[in-house]
Symmetry: C2
Subunit: 151 residues, 2 copies
DNA sequence: GTAAGATACTCTCATGTGAGACTAAATTCA
DNA sequence: TGAATTTAGTCTCACATGAGAGTATCTTAC
């Protein structure tokens, strides 16, 4: 492969472009699984998934973990509270930042989605052998680390 | 690594989640290169890059290539026409779909961005050896193919 | 050739997002 | 301790997006 760094840009090989396209498609296709069926928006699903995996945490922590804007977070949290899918507990260490966690119902919802999610991903990566997938994840995390250096 | 498909979901290993995060960061960090300096929005940049790589094409074709909504496309094209960065030529085969291409100025702009883009990506992948990068791109395109099967 | 349907694009409208102001609470520093 | 600064979260506002209607053109089918 010949590359001329000065004048040529191959979009298929250009990560900010092609990775965005693929991630968009992926998120769109996967979100069908929870949007109609469980009436969750993307931000709502992301909050639930993070609370399930990491347990009790504040909105700020969720913002950092899920790379979400604080306004979007605030709205999504509000709506999950209204639906009793999550619980807010006063934080003794900081009265501004209440501690969020999944309610019983929220947990039940999550438990319904998880097997669907795993199945979905299993289908997605079915063309890859496990070594290739592992290698891919590894490279991804290197890229992620690189991006976070500048932050 | 033990995985229980029924009850556990590891977001770090879950592609719709982690790929979206990484792609967002990437796109955000890269877009700084062209947003202020060349006053381009993301959709505008994507149009220019595609026209530069693939030459004359219609708005519909650009929508498909860049996975953009037709409304967003329409607006971005309009603004690039106003700024004389692209040219619309009547399409003899279909009067609805005019043929878009880069103007001389558009080309000049693109030529300024390309080396910056290549440098940027070179920095991004500097932690990877060329074999690893090649493998990564290869896996990415497999995933992309899989996603497009269902479309 | 003409009617019915499909397609390319624009426009309008409803919605989601993110920047920044604002409030309350915590932290720092003197 | 008290004043100044920082921080967490909410709210408002401007803006971008995408769904769907509308228009012009093209295609299909009879």
């Amino acid at each position: 492969m010949t590359t001329d760094n000065q004048t040529t840009l191959d979009l298929k090989q250009f990560l900010p472009y092609s990775l965005t396209n693929i991630a968009m498609q992926m998120s769109e296709q996967f979100s069908e699984l929870y949007q109609q069926q469980f009436d969750l928006t993307v931000p709502q699903w992301r909050i639930i998934a993070n609370l399930a995996q990491y347990g009790e945490c504040t909105a700020k922590e969720l913002c950092d973990m899920a790379q979400m804007d604080k306004s979007t977070m605030s709205r999504a949290v509000k709506s999950l509270l209204t639906r009793n899918l999550i619980i807010a507990k006063e934080n003794p260490k900081d009265k501004r930042a209440s501690l969020l966690s999944l309610s019983v119902e929220g947990n039940r919802l999550h438990e319904q989605i998880v097997p669907l999610a795993n199945e979905w991903q299993a289908g997605l990566v079915s063309d890859l052998d496990s070594q290739e997938l592992k290698q891919f994840m590894n490279t991804l995390s290197k890229l992620s680390n690189h991006l976070n250096k500048n932050v």
